[in-house]
Amino acid sequence: MGGDTPGTLWRGIEELTADRIEALLEAEFPVLHQMGTMDRRDLIRLMGASLALAGLTACEQRKPPLLSQPSSPEGQAADKPLYFATSLGLDGYGRGVLVKSHDGRPIKVEGNPLHPASLGATDVFMQAEILSIYDPDRSRTPRLGSEPRPWSALRRFLAAQRMEMTADGGEGTHILIGATSSPTVAGLIERLRARYPAMRFHSYSPISDPLASPELIYRFDHVDTVLSLGADFLGAGPAQVRYARDWKAARPRLIVVESSPTLTSARADERLPLAPHEIEMLAAELAAGQGPPSIVQALAGTPGRAMVIAGRDQPPAVHALAYRINERLGAFGNGIVAVAPVRIAEGIEPLDALVAAMAAGRMRRLAILDCNPAYDAPADLAFDTLAARVPATLHLGISHDETARVCRWHAPQRHVLESWGDLRAYDGTVGLQQPATVPLVPGLSTIELLAFFAGERPDGRALVRRQWNGLSEADWMRALEAGVVSGTEAEAIDPVSPSPTRPIQYGAMTLTFQPDARLWDGRFANNAWLQELPSPLTKLVWGNAALIAPATAASLEVETGDIVEIAHRGATVKAPVWVMPGQAPGVVTLSLGYGRPSAGRVGSEIGTNAFRLRAADTPWAAHDVQVRKVPGNGRLISTQRHQPIADSGAIRTVEADAPEEQPSLYPEFPSLGHAWGMVIDLDACIGCGACTIACQAENNIPVVGPDEVERGREMHWIRVDRYHQGPAEAPETHFQPVPCMHCEKAPCEVVCPVGATVHSAEGLNQMVYNRCIGTRTCSNNCPYKVRRFNWFDYQSKAPATPAPANNPRVTVRDRGVMEKCTYCVQRINAARADAAVEGRDIRESDVHTACQQVCPTDAIAFGDLNDPNSKVSRLRRSGRNYALLGNLNTRPRTTYLARRRRRT
């Protein structure tokens, strides 16, 4: 018997019990066979086929299910992609996306312009969902312990539990749900509570307090001055895309006080690296109307249009102080809006209460849905050992993760792109979730499992529709199409001062934690795209490091690459050191999400698990840690070496550079028709890396793994260079996305012996993969080093992107050929074909490159340079426009707008 279904050999039909028939059916028809979706009639109908096939499976490997569209949807041409509007969650909040699906395969995520948390752009996590759905390590079968079990066995277990719960009213039954804002989940919880009055519900997120009330929403386009107390609003987070867009639109004066550099501070007009206790002192001073004059004046200088944001990692005391300052500044109602909790909070208890109940030993049943506390709960709660003592435990998750391993039962969860559901955005707006593909792996969604407990039919669509039965059918269809339900923003309520807690015992050395820019809380650990995406500031891939200030590193006598042991309350971890310019002295920073014991083949045991030092009472900072150097060298893989920017003149911050044209000996080639060009605004770029990963998804760019990146063989077509300027204690940080420049006088083309890279009539520097023989001399001659080489057959070697995730419109490159940014030529050609069908010329709005489309701050413009009115043409005429390495006279089609420097 092939595949996932275990079983002994059988000889005749009479040996087959109903269970075994079901097992066989699962093997043959994984799509059809889901909990509850199959009734008796289906079963009988399929039985004949299954029995016929059953004999064959003994000698045949199971093939993945074929996906096809026997009849095209209305108005759908055969090779055209379909777009599905849905919402992807992060920390329980929804972000609206459009999922591009080719022949039934989701291949790309774009932002949903109608969704307030997206406005058409995305972050790195949204892009990476495509890889997650095809993750070969996804859980494919229910498990009892570590043993795979048929779905029928799980169903029997659940049915028995449901019977017992009906008998005892849910006494001793706890359900732990990862933080979520789903109204459908809220509705189900209500119904469950009615059915089982004693049932208790908990919610947990390692990144935020899901029960916080009220929630604060920031409106950067309503203020002129922003003081951030450790708030990384431009960094990864559920509202990153929207906040970045608003920030770019308004460009308020930005002052950042923080312990470890962030994307936000990289764009700050003024930056102050301070240890956590110093931040608290500063906040107290400011609350008292004192403090550094520059900050005080800046806040006071824009009355009614200034606000203070306290970061999620700040202690309650700082939040309370920020509240006081904001109240005085009149920020509430202007820059800051307090709203009723967006995520489910009513009647929900925190994780502590669950742990207390487990410790008390009276818990009978525990269901853990869509969260992984065995890995990401504070270590001092000892969640895993306690959970193992509960008699009946069930885990619903997308992979057989750490929590699945401490639960008795595990059920595979459907991927979000296979599920129905709903989620609210950071501002409360509801976005509906609909599947973009049939389930690739049999599984259950959270709402389907809850519905089973509630005695309802576990049909995701019906459950969501029921939740939204207030909508007429037409409105429902409209909401599905748009991806948002209009008029569902959270209501504003009065802000409440956070309750001050007992004072914190600060120590000499503090360890702070950050959600990781790539793995978030670890849930993306098995996503190779994210693992290989360079971390924005360190450019580290495939791992994390203990960030230490240069001065602290000197006093500890460590350098980048040494290993330190960090001890806190008896627990220790070892981590490689990264000397971080701009880090506050006395602060060590570790990002969360690494060192997962069972993330999967890609992500297990990579990096240092910071959760092991995390304490429940001060989750974001471990005070008074001991840090000491231990022998050995850590493996740190970074994609960019340090080099002062003065060296290259790559980054310009000065204004009003006159556009320079150097004479050339070569004649101009006539440019008829379109002349594609790109302008990248360094003043808008926040360095988030969304362009890199969007490009990876769009262009079938392989992941190569840590060993290859360590050798410098990463494949990204657009990289984001990071430069520091100024003193290492408090440098300025610059980002520069570098795709292929598509030089008019391309040095790479001239040296290719076989003409494998040549110019198109529209000025694209084209790479002809089929013609390439792999001399790599083009890369030698590329001053920008944007060309990438297939040193091995990366597309077939782990951790290669599974083939179904590939964009069918982009060639998958063979080993031994060069590749590079194409300006998304497939999109240009598709737009040209569409325009030709409609009998018109291509409009500027027809073509968006993948990097341009996802950019939260709209920093990338792409269009026709021959059209004087196009956006790129207008930007090119800007005084800030300059060519990278313009002195080489390669005449790049991609140019940059210099970063503005605000006079202080």
Binding site: S664, Y666, E668, K745, C748, C752, G755, H759, A761
Partner: protein, 173 residues
């Protein structure tokens, strides 16, 4: 009429013999030596300037043809914008033209030399002469052809015999 070929054991004897035979008025002579003897090649070798001309002319032809080919390939048959360089990038074509010129010159020299030498050929009547294989080793041969105007079987044999050869053979035509 068959000619005569005389075998000498030293180059000095051969050179002396050539002198005598020439003085007698014989013109259809040839000598075969294991290595080039300047006196012999000077007297009997004939002009060699042709081969220089062949090399030079073919070098020019080769260079020109090569340039024409490159022009046709890059600018006529499949014109492509390569790095914004002109289609007829003459400067960039020069290295290949230069080396191709050298190739044509070298090959023409070899072929021209063979042609002028009447080579290659499988066989030659001389190879049938006894011990002629020593012409490439340690003996020196002088040939007087039968169609020489003053050739006479008796006179010529007597003359050759007087020059101290090891042996005299008749050579058929």
């Amino acid at each position: 009429m068959p000619g005569f070929i005389a075998r000498f054991d030293t180059p000095e004897r051969l050179v002396a013999a050539i002198g005598r035979v020439r003085d007698e008025g014989y013109t259809k002579l040839d000598a075969f030596t294991p290595f080039p003897l300047p006196e012999v090649t000077k007297r009997l070798g004939g002009g060699t300037w042709t081969i220089g001309w062949i090399a030079a002319v073919f070098a020019l032809i080769g260079g020109g043809l090569t340039y024409a080919t490159l022009y046709w390939v890059a600018a006529v048959d499949y014109p492509l914008n390569v790095g914004g360089r002109p289609l007829n990038s003459w400067a960039a074509f020069m290295p290949v033209v230069l080396v191709a010129t050298a190739l044509w010159s070298g090959l023409a020299t070899l072929v021209g030399m063979l042609y002028l030498c009447g080579l290659p050929r499988w066989h030659h009547p001389l190879f049938d002469i006894g011990q002629f294989d020593r012409a490439s080793y340690d003996r020196f041969f002088l040939l007087i052809e039968g169609d020489d105007p003053i050739f006479s079987p008796d006179e010529t044999r007597r003359l050759l015999a007087s020059l101290g050869p090891e042996h005299i053979d008749e050579v058929g035509r």
